[in-house]
């Protein structure tokens, strides 16, 4: 019973931490992209493509964390 509670709490905290990590990462990417577009507006298309790529990679790492957190809650 207690173990279930701990697993649930751990999963929830893990998912939250993963979300924080992804938020920081994607925020940094967005910041970089906006700054570089402001400096060099003609490179906007290249920058946007690379931004989405990098954001997807960061998000992938965060989703790993969330899935593991989910498994901690579901698998008993």
């Amino acid at each position: 019973m207690l173990l279930d509670g701990v697993a649930n709490a751990g999963g929830a905290v893990g998912a939250g931490l993963a979300a924080i990590g992804a938020g920081l990462g994607i925020g940094q990417i967005g910041k970089g992209a906006v700054e570089s577009i402001a400096r060099q507006p003609e490179a906007m298309n290249d920058i946007r493509a690379n931004m989405i790529l990098a954001a997807a990679l960061v998000e992938g790492a965060a989703l790993f964390g969330i899935i593991v957190g989910f498994l901690a809650m579901v698998l008993k």
Partner: protein, 380 residues
């Protein structure tokens, strides 16, 4: 002026209040009538109607199922009626051989049929006396709703692409402006070619373009189908994404060259004592890349669906406390749902793009270097 504004605000607040008030009266009346109707109902039906289990609703929506289940309602006698489309069930076991029947025979889990029973997750074999037969291993080859929807997506994909290809072959839209369905798909095909294939694959892009386009449109059509209320969540099924990821993995492996493997097993310009670590990391990276593709698509689609269902469930969770809270929550919840839904439409395109783009990036990194590398050195 200020007084008038206050008056307007007051009027608005009162009118909103009166909406809830009148509705709450209506809801109360409804609950007064209901107990009368339920006198004849058996106890377990009464129970199932009373409580709302959010987790059950959520998993019922995102998991695969043997039927399309839309809703259920209670008639005047209190019997539960299900609105659903049954799908064929095909079962195989060594002891009993092959059987096929419609899922409606199970009567939504209330009845056994032909010695089989549908449990919470899978179909099990039962003996004559009704106990579960552990000795029989049942292979479920049923046409579930994911299979139906995937086939539907496949048919639409083939029909669209083949009809367009035919008209291009006839010369329509080659020199002239595109017509009809060509208008719909030509920009997307050009986008995949120019933004995904060419930058990542260089001069070899034509070889991989058919694969990339097929993946892109297959994921996209399935994503969009999954967004129609009542349909299955195909791209949010781990088995579906695993197969797509495995295909990507095979394509990546087949396009590797010696340069790629050389960088993995003998990383150049690295001190000797770091090499073992780096080799291990690089080697695992070969498998982690497609695995990340699998998890990304799966988790994104499941997360989107769960968020939408959670928001809708909020209404019923609050509605259980009392009906005013339920009615009060519903405009907020529905506004958020519509908002998330539009984001999901964006995500449907974005995930199809990201899956294709990352596959192209990985393929490109698998064969880059090699011959081009020599030319680079001369240039430098």
């Amino acid at each position: 002026m200020a007084l008038r504004r206050v008056k307007l605000a007051l009027a608005a607040v009162f009118s909103v209040f009166s909406i809830f008030f009148s509705i709450s009266l209506f809801a109360q009346e409804d609950t007064h009538v209901r107990p009368k109707e339920e006198h004849g109902v058996t106890e377990d039906k009464h129970e199932s109607k009373k409580s709302f289990d959010a987790a059950e609703v959520i998993f019922g929506h995102i998991l695969d199922n043997h039927e399309y289940h839309f809703t259920e309602y209670h008639d005047a006698e209190g019997n539960v009626h299900h609105v659903s489309i049954p799908l064929p069930i095909i079962l195989y076991s060594k002891e009993r051989g092959l059987t096929a029947f419609m899922s409606s025979r199970f009567e939504h889990g209330h009845a056994d049929f032909n010695g089989y029973r549908i449990g919470d997750e899978k179909i099990v074999a039962v003996k004559e006396d009704g106990s579960v037969d552990e000795g029989v291993k049942v292979y479920d080859l049923s046409i579930t709703r994911n299979v139906v929807q995937m086939s539907l997506a496949l048919i639409i994909l083939c029909w669209l692409m083949i009809s367009i290809a035919k008209s291009y072959r006839k010369g329509l839209g080659v020199k002239t402006a595109p017509k009809g369905k060509q208008n719909l798909l030509e920009p997307v095909v050009i986008f995949v070619r120019d933004e995904v294939a060419k930058p990542n694959l260089g001069h070899k892009y034509e070889k991989y373009l058919p694969y990339l386009l097929t993946t892109f449109f297959f994921i996209l059509i399935n994503n969009i189908f999954g967004l129609i209320p009542g349909t299955a969540n195909v791209t949010g099924n781990i088995a579906f994404t695993v197969v797509l990821g495995l295909i990507s993995f095979v394509v990546i492996l087949f396009s590797t060259n010696s340069h790629f493997w050389g960088h993995i097993f003998n990383p150049p310009g690295v001190p000797g004592f770091v090499k073992p670590i780096l080799i291990l990391v690089e080697f695992l990276g070969v498998f982690i890349k497609p695995f990340a593709l699998i998890i990304r698509l799966f988790a994104n689609m499941v997360a989107g669906h769960i968020i939408i269902i959670c928001l809708i469930s909020l209404i019923f969770i609050f509605g259980q406390m009392n009906s005013i809270a339920g009615w009060g929550t519903s405009p907020v919840a529905i506004a958020f749902t519509v908002f998330i839904y539009f984001i999901e439409v964006l995500v449907a395109f974005l995930q199809a793009f990201i899956f294709t783009n990352l596959t192209a990036v990985f393929i490109g990194s698998a064969f880059e270097g090699g011959h081009d590398h020599e030319g680079e050195h001369i240039h430098v």
